[in-house]
């Protein structure tokens, strides 16, 4: 099988059976925002706004480069934003504006 055929047979998330390095038994307690992000995923699922499978496909659609560069929950929140844009629930400029406001608000509370 040539390289392009191999690529076609495996979507980016489909890594079962591929060679990989030794397992590093890492774990970390979730950051508060990571836990909120996880809770947000559950709540979006409860309300049938974004379900687990849509989220998984959304992460896949970020592409291998972004998946490699972002941490686990960074991928999730980026994926939620993209899917919410696609569903026309949020607009990109609306989110950008709110992110600026949030960042400004938090920089003000610093001593």
């Amino acid at each position: 099988m040539n390289h392009s055929e191999e690529l076609l047979r495996r979507l980016p998330n489909d890594i079962g059976g591929l060679p990989a390095e030794a397992i590093r038994r890492t774990d970390h307690p979730l950051e508060p925002w990571e836990k909120r992000c996880h809770a947000l995923a559950d709540v979006l699922d409860f309300h049938k706004i974004i379900n687990t499978e849509e989220k998984r496909r959304g992460v896949e659609a970020l592409g291998a480069e972004m998946v490699g560069a972002l941490t686990y929950y960074e991928r999730w929140i980026a994926t939620f934003a993209v899917i919410l844009f696609q569903k026309r629930i949020l607009a990109p400029d609306e989110l950008a504006k709110r992110m600026d406001e949030v960042a400004a608000r938090h920089s003000k509370v610093l001593p």
Binding site: R25, D27, A39, L95
Partner: protein, 226 residues
């Protein structure tokens, strides 16, 4: 969509919903945290999610840990009827046992025996029996475990210090968004007569994933009819 019963007092609720992260002693939030806050605020303002829902779901997540799964395992060891129901319909048996399933997933419980050892993985992402075990460890979500568990489970197990005899079959189950697995480990030798509580204390998260087995217990602790 916005069927939650709460009245909407936006200016109040939204202002306060982000307070858990607005800790003035901490560094300012990073880019993705800002994104998380912004997405959450906008969804609440649009009344697509309720103002307190994230916090309530965090409480649900915090209430789940491997200790819950350990209780299920211990009950299965001491109660053959429960064990049979657990193996028939994992979710139903857990719900009857008092564990609510907050997500829309099925649970299949895989019993380790003398002839078969089970291992669970999610090759595509990080599907995990969260209602009974809580959130998965990072290594479960990382590429090496996801890639290798289905291909060379014995080598993977060896990295966890687990050696399964060659004549014991290793069965690897790959989770999906809808179907999750939980391993029912073998009851350690030397635990006859132990209380359910004492048994539960032996059961580890990794044993319920299947990457380790549970050690035999010294005979001295098993006297008496606890």
């Amino acid at each position: 969509m916005s069927t939650h019963p709460h009245p909407h007092d936006h200016s109040h609720e939204v202002t306060h919903d982000h307070t858990p992260c607005a800790d003035a002693s901490e560094a300012p939030p990073g880019y993705y945290e800002v994104m998380e806050i912004a997405v959450r605020e906008l969804l609440i303002e649009k009344q697509l999610i309720g103002p307190g829902e994230i916090r309530r779901q965090i409480e649900v997540l915090d209430s789940r840990s491997p200790a819950l799964g350990a209780k299920v395992v211990a009950r299965a060891w001491v109660d053959p009827d429960f064990r049979a129901r657990l193996l028939t319909n994992g979710r139903k048996a857990c719900e009857d046992f008092g564990i609510s399933f907050y997500d829309d997933t099925e649970l299949i419980v895989l019993e380790n025996t003398e002839t078969c050892h089970n291992l669970i993985v999610c090759t595509l992402c990080s599907c995990y029996p969260r209602p009974v075990l809580g959130l998965p460890p990072d290594w479960y979500k990382a590429k090496p475990y996801r890639a290798r568990a289905v291909k060379e489970p014995r080598a993977v197990l060896a990295e966890f210090g687990t050696v399964i005899p060659a004549d014991v079959e290793i069965r690897v189950s790959d989770s999906t968004a809808q179907v999750r697995f939980l391993v029912l480990p073998r009851r350690p030798a030397g635990t006859d007569g132990w209380s359910e509580e004492a048994l539960a204390a032996l059961v580890t998260r990794d044993a319920m994933i299947g990457v380790v087995t549970l050690d035999s217990q010294p005979l001295t602790e098993s006297d008496g009819e606890a």
